[in-house]
Symmetry: none
Subunit: 222 residues, 2 copies
C-alpha cells in the first residue's frame, strides 16, 4: 500500500483528504506545519507528498527545498488561487505538480496516481545511501567511522555530489551549478570556503584528507 504525507494546516481540508485517500486505499500521514512535515517524511518515508504552500513555521518553498536535498519523491503542491503566479517557481524549486484550491478530490486522486506512476519509472534519488571509505551517508546524516558528523546542508550537498562520482573531478562551476541551480558567474571563493569547512570537519574524525585539490581544475575525492 502506498504511503502519502499531507502537510496542511487547515484541519478540515486535511481530514477530508485523509478520509478520501484512505477510502481509496492509501496509507495517510499528516502534519500541520512545515517543520513537523519534514520530520514526518523522514520518519515514514512516504511515496508522495501533498504540500500546502501557506504553512505556519516553515513555508512550502522551504519545505520543498529541504526535501529535495535528499529525495525525489513526488510533491504535489496545493495553493490558493491567488498564489498561482508562483507555480513556475514551484516547479523550478522541485515540485512535481500543483493544484489550486478549491480542488476536486478526484482530480487530486488522478494526479496522485499519475505522479506515483511516474516516480516508479524515474530513477529514484530517495533514500540516499552512500559509502566511501570511512564516510557513510544515510538519508540526511553523515557518519565518519560510525560517528555522526554535523554538516550543514550546503556542505552535505557538496559531499554527496563528490561521493556520487568518486572518480570524477568536479570543477567549481560543476559544483556551484549542481548545488545552487544557477549560473556560476565568477569565483567568489564560496566553494573554496565550503570545501575548507568540510575538510575541517572530516579532519576532526580522521587523519586523512578525503578531498583532493586538482590545481586549475577542481576537486575530487581521494
Amino acid at each position: 500500500m502506498k504511503k502519502i504525507a499531507i502537510i496542511e494546516d487547515d484541519i478540515d481540508i486535511c481530514n477530508m483528504i485523509t478520509k478520501f485517500l484512505i477510502n481509496h486505499n492509501y496509507e495517510v500521514y499528516s502534519a500541520p506545519n512545515g517543520r513537523e512535515g519534514i520530520d514526518l517524511c523522514q520518519k515514514f518515508l512516504p511515496d508522495l507528498i501533498i504540500l500546502d504552500l501557506m504553512l505556519p513555521i516553515l513555508n512550502g518553498d522551504s519545505v520543498i527545498k529541504q526535501l529535495r536535498t535528499y529525495t525525489d519523491i513526488p510533491v504535489i503542491v496545493v495553493s490558493a488561487k491567488t498564489m498561482v503566479q508562483s507555480k513556475i517557481d514551484l516547479l523550478r524549486l522541485g515540485a512535481d505538480d500543483y493544484m489550486t484550491k478549491p480542488f476536486n478530490l478526484f482530480e487530486l486522486l488522478a494526479r496522485i496516481e499519475a505522479n506515483l506512476k511516474r516516480s516508479v519509472t524515474a530513477p529514484m534519488k530517495a533514500d540516499i545511501h552512500l559509502k566511501y571509505k570511512d564516510i557513510k551517508i544515510e538519508n540526511c546524516n553523515a557518519y565518519i567511522k560510525g560517528a555522526i558528523v554535523q554538516f550543514t546542508s550546503t556542505e552535505l550537498s557538496i559531499l554527496i555530489l563528490l561521493l556520487q562520482y568518486p572518480q570524477k573531478i568536479f570543477s567549481k562551476q560543476n559544483i556551484y551549478e549542481s548545488i545552487w541551480q544557477e549560473e556560476y558567474a565568477y569565483d567568489n571563493d564560496t566553494i573554496n570556503t565550503h570545501i575548507s569547512n568540510i575538510r575541517k570537519k572530516i579532519k576532526k574524525h580522521t587523519d586523512t584528507d578525503y578531498i583532493e585539490t586538482v590545481w586549475g581544475i577542481g576537486y575530487k575525492l581521494k
Copy 2:
C-alpha cells in the same frame, strides 16, 4: 542559456512547445523529421532533446540509437498514449524520460529541468579519452603504464593536443594559439619549457622520449 532541440513533425505542437520554452528562457531549435533532427543536433549541440516517436523519414528509435553512438545528452521522448507499451524499450534504448500526449507544458518544463540537472551531475562521457602507446588520458587524469602522473593543466592541455593528432607536427605557434587562445607574438621559450617539463615527467615513468623535436618546425609525438 540552455539549448533545446525539438524533433517533432506536428508543426502546431512544435510551435507551442517552442514558444513556451522560449518564454521560459531556453534557446530552441526544431526539426520536422529524424534525419534533419540528427543534423540539427550535430550542428547546434543542444543540452537536451525533445523527441517525438512517430517521425517521418527516420523514426524515433533510430534517432536515439544514432544519437547515443556519440553523445549522452538527455532525450525526453514524447509519444501518443497508444504507444505506451514501448516506453520500457525506449528507456532501454537510451531515452532518459518520456511523456505521453497530450501533455501539460509545465510538466514538460519540470522534466526538462530535472533531466538537465541530472546531466550536470552525471559523469561526463563527452570527456576526453585518449591513448597513445603507454600514455592514456581519461577525464582529467593522465596515466603512463597505468600509473597516474600529475601534470599541470597547461602541460595536460599540450599533451592532449599532441595525442589528438599523433602524426601531426605542431609548430610552437600552433600549440600556443590552441592552448592560450590568443596570438603568438614572439617566442619567449614558454612552450619549450612546458615541453621540457612534460618530457621530464614522462621520463620518470618510462625510458622512451615520447616527444620528438622537429628542428626549425615544432614538435610531434614519436
